[in-house]
Structure formats: structure tokens, C-alpha cells
């Protein structure tokens, strides 16, 4: 089991990548995870909903990311 520091670091890196991906354009949960895994986030460990969703909520709380409801439930556009 990796240390807490490494875990935190990975979460931080994941956060950056999320912001970067969302900045490119509006997306939704499932898609952003697929993008993460496709663009080599596997280096940090396979990105999964369990880790990504909480981070997205924190970003939303901090105002760095905005969510809206759309017919196909789009989520996450950068400010």
C-alpha cells in the first residue's frame, strides 16, 4: 500500500489533469474518465469514478468547475 504522501500527490496530479481536460471543453463524468485513461493517466494508476468524482465535487465547491444539467446530462465546464 503506497504512502499517504504519494496518494495525495497522485490526487493532486489527477486534479490538474481534470482541470486541463475540462478546460478543453464541456464534458461529463463518464467521458472525462475515459479521456483520462486514454491520455495516459494510467501512469498515475487507472482513473476510476471512486477517485475522480470526489475530486470533481471539490473542484465544483471551489468554483473551479461548473456543472449543468443537459438532456444527456453534461457536466463540468471551466469558468
Amino acid at each position: 500500500m503506497e504512502g499517504s504522501y504519494v496518494q495525495q500527490f497522485k490526487k493532486g496530479a489527477l486534479e490538474m489533469m481534470l482541470l486541463c481536460l475540462i478546460n478543453r471543453g464541456e464534458t461529463y463524468g463518464y467521458e472525462v474518465i475515459r479521456q483520462l485513461n486514454d491520455s495516459g493517466a494510467a501512469v498515475l494508476g487507472y482513473a476510476k469514478e471512486g477517485t475522480v468524482y470526489p475530486i470533481l465535487y471539490r473542484l465544483q465547491e471551489g468554483g473551479l468547475v461548473q456543472a449543468r444539467m443537459a438532456p444527456s446530462a453534461a457536466n463540468g465546464g471551466s469558468k
Binding site: 467521458e31 476510476k48 469514478e49 477517485t51 468524482y53 465547491e61
Partner: protein, 150 residues
Amino acid sequence: MEERYLRQVKRALCLPGKRKKEVVRDLREAFASAKENGEPAEAVIERLGSPEDFAGGIHEQLGIDAAAKRRRRDVFVGAMLLLLAAAAWLVLWLSRALRPAENVIGQADAMTSIQVSGSSAVPPLLGLAAAVLVVGGALLLARGLRARRR
């Protein structure tokens, strides 16, 4: 499978009602998207982690101390129940104390058909309810006040 998971997450989450609904809505969406891509609910649950882990992850990211919140709630509800029990016992005591005296009507020359009595079923029921409230309230209070294990 999905509904059960969602219910468990809802229970494990320590957030205001509106936020809880949003999280559950987002999860439903994740399941729906996965389904569109041919993935079963089990696969998504695998990636989400256990309901407790998932909720814990959200609490951690949002800086919420769920355990502390639960303890505070237990203390509050426990105290309220004890107060209710005290109120019930007060009513009980008053009803007994204010019961009419045995000879309130006085002596009559002949048998009368006037009866004066207090209510019959209420006192035992009230007593039982009060006892239940005391036990429940005390248990909750104790659980809430228990010191956090280091």
C-alpha cells in the same frame, strides 16, 4: 444492484439533502453512461468502490468530518428524547396528583350512579412510552458522547 448501491451511498453520505440528491443523480448518470457503452453495473461499482469508501472519499475531499457530525446529531437527538421522556413523566405525575379524591361527591342517602374516576389506559401507556424514550435517549446520548478512539 444499482438501486441498492445508491441507497447505501445515500445512507453513508453526511451531506445536506440537496447535495446528497445531486451526488445520487450523478451516480445514476454514471451507471447510465456505462450501460450505453455496454458496461454492467457491477463494473461501475467496482470502480466506485464500496458505498462507504465512496462517501468517505467525498467527505475527505470536501473536508467534512462525518464522524464528528454524527456524534453531534446523536447527542442532540438523545437529549431531545430524554426531554420528551421527562415531559411524559411530568404529565403522568400531574394526572396522578390531580386525580379527584375518593369522596369528592360526598355521602348520599341512597346509591347514586355517579362515578368519578381518572382515565384508565393513559397512565400505563405514557409510562411505557416514557421508559422507551429514556432508554433510547440515553443510548443515543452515550453513543454521541463517547470519546473518539485514537
